[in-house]
Amino acid sequence: MEIIKTINLTKVYSNNGLEVKAVNHIDLSIEEGEFTAIVGPSGSGKTTLLNMIGGLDDITEGSVEIAGINISSLSENELIDFRLKNIGFVFQAYNLIPVLTAKENVEFIMLLQGVSEEERKQRSEYLLINVGLADKLDARPNQLSGGQQQRVAVARALASKPRFIIADEPTANLDSHSTANLLDMMAEMNEKEKVTFLFSTHDQRVIDKAKRVITIEDGKIIKDERR
């Protein structure tokens, strides 16, 4: 089932009258359960593409459809709500809430969704145990390593039961051991629970794990390889 569809997607940045096409007329389709990496050199438009798919950046031209809904037609508040219910985000710099514990960070997104306290508690513990942090439930982000924080971020992204997860260079700040652990964990989730992942990355280890690799250059797809 097609979950993400971009049609003629274009993003133009204007800087001092100079126009730069960060994303140039991209048509893309992602199926449910895919484990896709978007690769390309720095400045090729990977992050901009993911931001537009995630409804974080304005679209200059074209459209993004998530599960058949054109997100450009949504108001700002509707879009925030749409993201909350449909998309999980994992950021390069983890971006956990520093004043909350790992468990509270995972629970927070469910709280925004209005999930009951009991369910929040059960699901956050389940997810953190699944990402290998059973003994770190009450640790604050500053008490966790980079790899552990990124695992919490993945658990948080999964907590809202999104249709797919966007991960923007999730391993960029991790050492090789943490990267391997994180990738194994995400691959396992994709395999077992059919969670759809869409990455942007330069990291060859991530690329090696991906089932589909889309290569972008100068804002255009130059290669789309399924494995």
Partner: protein, 405 residues
Amino acid sequence: MKTIIKIAWRNIWRTPMRSLIVIGSIVMGIWAGIFVVAFSYGLNKQRTLNSIQNSISHIQIHHPEYQRDYNSKYFIKDSEGLKSTLEADENIKAFAFRSLLNGMVSSPIKSNGVRIIGINKNQEKELTRIHSGLVEGNYFESKRRNPVLIGEALAKKLKVKLRSKVVLTFQDAENNIVSGAFRVCGIFKTQYTKYDEGNVFIENSDLQRLIKSEEFHQVALLCNSIDQVDSTYQKLKSNLSDYEVKDWKAISPELAYADEVMESWLFLIMIIIMLALIFGIINTMLMAVFERRRELGMLMAIGMNKSKIFFLILTETFFLSLIGAPTGLLLGALTIKLTAQTGIDLSIVGEGLESVGLGSVIYPEIQSHFYFYISVMVFVFTLIAAIYPSRKALNLKPTEAIRTI
């Protein structure tokens, strides 16, 4: 909601020193505001009370023409009937019949224009505090004829002492010049130098003998409390249509004006203090928003809507005020409780204070409703202070904020 409040609470302690500084400034601001309010209120109240208790009383009654040119021919008619009316009113605590004449007091060295007040010493004792303000001598206890009480400032000016002889000169009701030799039996001191310099007290019997009349020019009266003045005044005004009845506000409009504008003035002071405080709060919250742009961007990205972001910043701002304001209020209340008993001794500038009718010890006082008003003001100003930082937070674009280093 509970979690957002929890986040807000923890957020303000992420930079404890900064939060403590802004909380400290709120505490100091509110404490200072309350103290200034209480001090000013106490000052004004003291000035009003001094004036009422030493000279003007709550209500005065005169012949309707008397206050037009203060001519001594305008006596109070039927003083016995008036006395009965006043005695029958249970709101009236004390009253005194006075004879008033403008004249001159002369010592061998100097003369000074004065108001000569002929009093019934027993009635006056119930009405004013002249008897308790004696710094020398006694309150008409001398058996000698023609005793006079003069103010300390006047005594210095005339260079007279206790038992010195002075001559009082004035016009009687037929405009004849009358003089009488009086001996200083006591020197009094109120908290208003000008009053002490411009008024002398003699016994009614002595004055009436000189002017050959047994009538009075003024009846001054005190009610049981200042709250009863309005009703008593209205009642006397309607019952005593042959007289001119004035309350203390009409007798001394400057006191009444000060009393009226005092509350507005004190509010203005509080508003100025609050305005200064909100700049501190805005600055702190702007720094907090600026430092947490990435975090706020992430929250928006994952689906925290704008109203919740606004609520988060608002709650953080309120926490700063909620800690600072009650502490400031409590500190202010304790300071006032303490100083209201001991007073604040300003004798170092006592002369200056006494020249405007104030004692050198000020007793701060605040009306309890002011605490409520200050609390409401803190709430409103905190809300105002939260708006700008919140708007800054809401205007963040998630993608740009997340990229912030």
